[in-house]
Amino acid sequence: MDGPQAEEHAVASDTPEATLGFDGPVATLTLQRPAQRNALSTGLLADLHSRLDELDAIVSPPTVLVITGAGRSFCAGMDLQQVIIDQDTAADVPLRLLESLARATHRIRMLPCVSIAKVNGAAIGGGCGLVTICDLAITHADAKLGFPEVDLGLCPAVVTPWLVKRIGAGPARRVLLRGGIMSGQAAAEIGIVTDLVETREQLDERCDSMARSLTAGGPKALRATKELLNELDGSASLEVLLRAAKLSAQVLSTDDAQARLRGRRG
């Protein structure tokens, strides 16, 4: 397992932007940056890596890990403000951010516990990528999910291998090339999430019930099964994700992409 880089620890703020809670065999990892719709900044990702370090250090890991977002959103994706290259932002920031995201997705996928994405609200771009790496995912019909990267002149390279594993190469081609945002209902139909409730209010109860039925199974059987599934679909390859991070950073650094990002900042 790859450890986080020291500098990522250094940028972690006093108030953690990712927290970990435990309830018996079920742990919950919460993205805690609600005012920015839990956008993936270097700080949030550093805290996420720290929480994953803590999980790795537990001798008897939890059986289930629920991943969710504080506030109304699950995760709005990459913090696009951070990747606008100007006098305050070094040219290598996009690559470092994307590599950190790539490593985080790989670490979550390779965790021994069964992961559930509890998609409480918008899951966009890299945020929707976090949904696709989880073993199971649940959302409500009105949630907004999707990969609008191509519309913004960006390439969703890091999430592509995960989406392909999740829904297959053909559907992934359609979803990523067409861009845009879909409803929770549509995301369930195409298989981005595995379970759907009608309203946001029903989400906690259904997720708890899903976690309960998982913890009824033998932890060793669950772990062995997950490890085999990861082996069969090539999840262990970090190399492809790091290459993806480079590819995505290249596109992000082009004049066209930078101009579009500045245009969005207004």
Binding site: E149, V150, D151, L152, G153, L154, C155, P156, A157, T160, P161, V164, G168, A169, G170, P171, A172, R173, R174, L176, L177, R178, G179, V240, A244, L247, Q250, V251, T254, D256, A257, R260
Partner: protein, 252 residues
Amino acid sequence: MIRVERVTADGSACTVITLNRPKRRNALTPSMIAELVAALHTAAEAGGGVLLRGEGPVFCAGFDLRLCLDSTDGSAIRLLLSGLSDACRAMRAHPGPVVVAAQGAAIAGGCALVAAADWAIGEAGGRYGYPVTRLGISPAVNAPFLEAAVDGGRARDLSLLPDLVSGEHAARIGLLHTLCAEGADVTQAASEEAARLGGKPAEAFAVTKAWLTELEGADRDTRTDRALEVSLSLTGGQEERTMLAAALNGDR
């Protein structure tokens, strides 16, 4: 028998390639498929999207089987299979969107073009599939593309069972991505889709498409070469000759 036009819709350029042999339901001949491959290469140089369509009520009935039978040494079918492989590769390699308007039917080689599209539009009540094993022909040549378009189990069904499926079924399994009502203007729907996809930032689209292709492995020439080799290995053989003759004589 191939018509090529360059159009601009909503500010994005698109090469419209039309299979133009409607009396034979656009059945492919070796020269037609060579023209198609050349048109795809020219379109890639010109930039923008590609809309591939067929004149008349049927997109494409596959290879011209009469021509295949008359070519007793199997050379026609070999040219067709190689050309089809090249065409599918060129569709994948094209940096912009490739949209196929498959009204009526897309059979065998025609269905192969559907499977290689970024976006395929079909018609309710239409007929789609690869019913070629009953002709002693293997659809292996298209397998790397079909396996990327639909899941593994469906790819086996479609490749091994000599049946056609309805447009509705093809849409359900992901072979078609938009299903038009029976009798609707499929080319119009495809033009709109080509304009929608062609309006995306070109570089982001091209890099994302190439990355998807790399991950699915369809661009790995060895895999596509091997698939072609399997289809070619049967050409001119006794089984193919006998079954092709029986099928064509049965049609009469």
